[in-house]
């Protein structure tokens, strides 16, 4: 009898464990089966006819803006107020572990429904078949809310894999006092841009020496490790190569114009306008160098840096000990990157946003529709208004513009005008085939970045790097696949 009781209790315990485990796997998952009524084939628009089924949408979100993560609870509550049957479950992540976390989840076949990521990474995930096309679930009102150019950045091969949060231009930023001391008409540059030769002369003037030692450089860009790809990526756009592929999908970086840019990279270091240790300077160090007056111009620059510089200035004025050590008051001036070889200036536009994923199981129609609703909620209206204001960025939806009406960010008006001019130079999105885009990313990681590091260290010549890129590109895309 006792044995039977033991057996029965063991069986019961096992059943409960299995039940609990299966509940875990479905709750908050991205397959939309959390509720039995979430059956496939349910019409997503039929919510007015029958009570909508409960569902949970998961989102992996990094600290997009300084105050972004503080608002998570409010965001989840507002979403639930808007859609009482839906729960927005936000998983916070730091910028450092965001990609790794997402990659692990994607490869395990259980990604979040939404993740905040760069439009360029869509190719990587789409190649694995793990992205979700939300275009069937976006209403014309939702689509019409977005500016056309940023919206297009989230499209690949006719499928809408997410919604953009903002379009930011990667510029460079100067110290107003140093620019003036060097006699640079920065307001003219902000509006009309500058050629490579003009830029080179300007940053030479920014160098201050004390004996043999350089006290201040003309220009410092963060190029340590993978950051170097930003530097090269931003420069090549100004040389008439807005994308790694031409309009007819031939690999572009085998063009002689690419060599022109590589030569410029070396020249700026050899001139002494940039540090010879440039290849080891990371993002934190170059910003520290800007705030401590060790460089006249810094890169890459984002609009939010003006906010950071202003905040540090206020701390210095208030004699606040948390100001950056040895920093000086620095008024941040937005500047464009130079253009090369007579090519028109093209801004390096970055579109980040909420990208939709699917798991191993086919998502239900209703769940996919709910994911689209969550993506729109995060990318527009009050959420976008708050985030983009915090980042000093222009809004890309009408609803966010409306929500942000009357909000004064206290930005320098010249910088606002400069950003607007730079935004006009942002190239429209190009729908490069997924496989080609993924191959280009691999070539960049395996050949371009390592060779660029060697070029920055002065260990190979621009010509050697160009030949290495050309050889690898021909191997990958074939002789007919390159320009």
């Amino acid at each position: 009898m006792k044995r039977k009781t033991k057996f029965a209790s063991t069986v019961l315990a096992l059943m409960l464990s299995v039940g609990a485990l299966s509940a875990c796997s479905s709750n908050g998952g991205n397959n939309g089966n959390a509720d039995p009524s979430n059956a496939p084939g349910t019409n997503p628009t039929a919510s007015s006819e029958a009570p909508a089924a409960k569902d949970t949408i998961t989102a992996l979100l990094p600290p997009v803006s300084p105050k972004y993560q503080e608002n998570f609870e409010q965001m989840a509550a507002d979403f639930n107020k808007l859609y009482p049957n839906l729960t927005l479950k936000i998983e916070p992540a730091s910028w450092e572990d965001m990609t790794q976390k997402l990659d692990t989840q994607v490869n395990a076949g259980s990604p979040p429904d939404l993740a905040f990521t760069n439009s360029e990474s869509i190719a990587k995930y789409a190649d694995l078949g793990m992205m979700m096309d939300i275009s069937p679930y976006l209403t014309p009102e939702m689509i019409g809310d977005f500016d056309e150019i940023p919206y297009g950045y989230m499209t690949k091969e006719g499928k809408q894999y997410g919604l953009p949060a903002y379009l930011a231009v990667h510029s460079i930023g100067g110290n107003k006092q140093f620019l003036e001391e060097a006699g640079i008409d920065y307001k003219k540059v902000q509006q009309s841009g500058w050629t490579y030769d003009e830029f080179r002369e300007a940053i030479k003037k920014g160098v201050v020496k004390e004996g043999d030692a350089t006290k201040r450089y003309g220009f410092v860009f963060a190029t340590a490790g993978v950051a170097s790809k930003d530097y090269l990526g931003i420069l090549v756009k100004g040389a008439g190569m807005p994308y790694p592929f031409t309009e007819d999908n031939k690999y572009a970086y085998t063009d002689e114009k690419y060599l022109t840019v590589l030569k410029a990279i070396r020249e700026l270091i050899d001139d002494g306008s940039m540090p010879k240790e440039l290849g080891s300077i990371d993002a934190g160090k170059r910003w520290n160098m800007f705030l401590t007056g060790q460089t006249m111009i810094t890169g890459k620059g984002l609009a939010v840096f003006e906010n950071s510089a202003n905040t540090n200035n206020k701390k210095l004025e208030a004699n606040d000990g948390s100001a950056v050590a040895d920093s000086i008051k620095a008024e941040y001036i937005v500047l464009p990157m130079p253009s090369f070889a007579g090519q028109p200036a093209v801004s390096h536009a970055v579109v980040d946003g909420y990208v939709a994923f699917r798991g191993k199981k086919e998502p239900t129609e209703e769940h996919a529709a709910n994911v689209a609703k969550a993506a729109y909620f995060l990318a527009s209206g009050q959420v976008a208004a708050t985030t983009n204001t915090d980042l000093f960025l222009s809004h890309i939806t009408d609803s966010a513009r409306k929500a942000a009406e009357g909000v004064d960010t206290g930005r320098n008006s010249d910088n606002i005008a400069a950003d607007e001019a730079l935004l006009k130079q942002a190239p429209p999105a190009r729908d490069i085939p997924t496989e080609l885009a993924a191959d280009a990313i691999k070539l960049e990681n395996e050949v371009i970045i390592p060779k660029l590091q060697a070029l920055l260290a002065g260990e190979i010549t621009p010509e050697e790097m160009f030949e290495a890129v050309k050889k690898a590109a021909v191997e990958k895309f074939g002789a007919d696949g390159v320009v």
Binding site: G225, K360, A457
Partner: protein, 300 residues
């Protein structure tokens, strides 16, 4: 009575056996789940083009690509260079420190052991951050400031191919001997005093005692440290990942880092699995060679 005692003993034995099997089962299940299963999975995946939504069998393609990859060859070479430069030096340094600690009083011995073991307790990430600060390439960097005292120009320690590997090796030389020192000290304490007494009677010098007593008695320990050191060195990942990312121009790309990049940067899990198994095979062959040539007269 005797029959009853035997029955009780048998029952007790059966009970003991059941407990023994239960405890063994825990270890076996752990091994099966966390060691055997991943290894078997890696072996299967190495013949596939891995995709989360359904992998495809591609035969030996991943192995063919691994063996023909210039980058894999470079990573193997870098790993060999790193191993050759770090493992023997680590053995010599650990042995020297252990010998210096031995004559000290117990409290002093313990203090030094604790000091040398401290880096092994500290997080590898924290150590890397400290070394990044030491290797700061700008003139204000710690190492560059020391060089400046001798009038030497500042060096781009981690950013130049000519110094990046040496920088990682130097970091290894100075920060990872705690475990080896403790093992050597334990082995030194295990040597019978009578050997030294006999040597003293024969008038043997310090170096003679070292050569004829200490080194032969420590041979099993040295072999153990050599084999585990080489295995650890072949699997080195953290330092390269955190300090240089494998650069510049792949000058510090080790096999471990390449496998990580292949899997988690390019999502080529099949190829990464093949690379892992090739690495395991290489380590196995090297360990066998070490046992064959150095372990002949070693008793365990």
């Amino acid at each position: 009575m005797a029959q009853g005692t035997t029955k009780i003993r048998n029952r007790l034995n059966r009970g003991d056996s059941a407990w023994a099997y239960a405890f063994i089962a825990v270890a076996l299940i752990g091994y099966a789940l966390f060691t055997a299963y991943p290894v078997i999975s890696a072996f299967i995946i190495s013949f596939q083009e891995y995709k989360p939504l359904g992998s495809e069998y591609i035969g030996f393609d991943n192995y063919a690509e691994t063996f023909t990859s210039e980058l894999f060859g470079k990573a193997v070479w870098n790993t060999i260079v790193y191993t050759v430069l770090t493992v023997p030096v680590a053995l010599v340094l650990s042995f020297a420190v252990a010998i210096m600690i031995m004559p000290l009083k117990k409290w002093a011995q313990t203090t030094f052991k604790a000091i040398y073991y401290l880096p092994a307790v500290a997080s590898g990430v924290a150590l890397s951050v400290v070394w990044l600060w030491i290797y700061d390439p700008l003139p204000g960097g710690v190492l560059n400031q020391i060089l400046a005292l001798f009038g030497i120009d500042n060096q781009n320690w981690l950013g130049s191919s000519s110094t990046s590997m040496f920088s990682l090796v130097f970091m290894s030389w100075l920060s990872s001997h705690g475990t080896s020192i403790i093992i050597y000290v334990a082995a030194l304490l295990g040597i019978d005093e009578s050997y030294y007494e006999a040597a003293d009677i024969d008038g043997a010098s310090f170096w003679q005692k070292m050569w004829h007593i200490v080194l032969p008695c420590l041979k099993p320990t040295t072999l153990f440290l050599l084999v585990t050191g080489v295995i650890g060195s072949f699997q080195v990942f953290q330092n390269a990942y955190l300090m240089t990312g494998g650069g510049p121009d792949h000058s510090t790309t080790m096999v471990g880092l390449l496998i990580f990049d292949t899997a988690f940067k390019y999502f080529e899990f099949g190829k990464a699995a093949a690379q892992s198994l090739v690495l395991a095979l290489m380590i196995g062959i090297i360990a066998l060679i070490q046992f064959k040539f150095l372990g002949k007269d070693v008793e365990y």
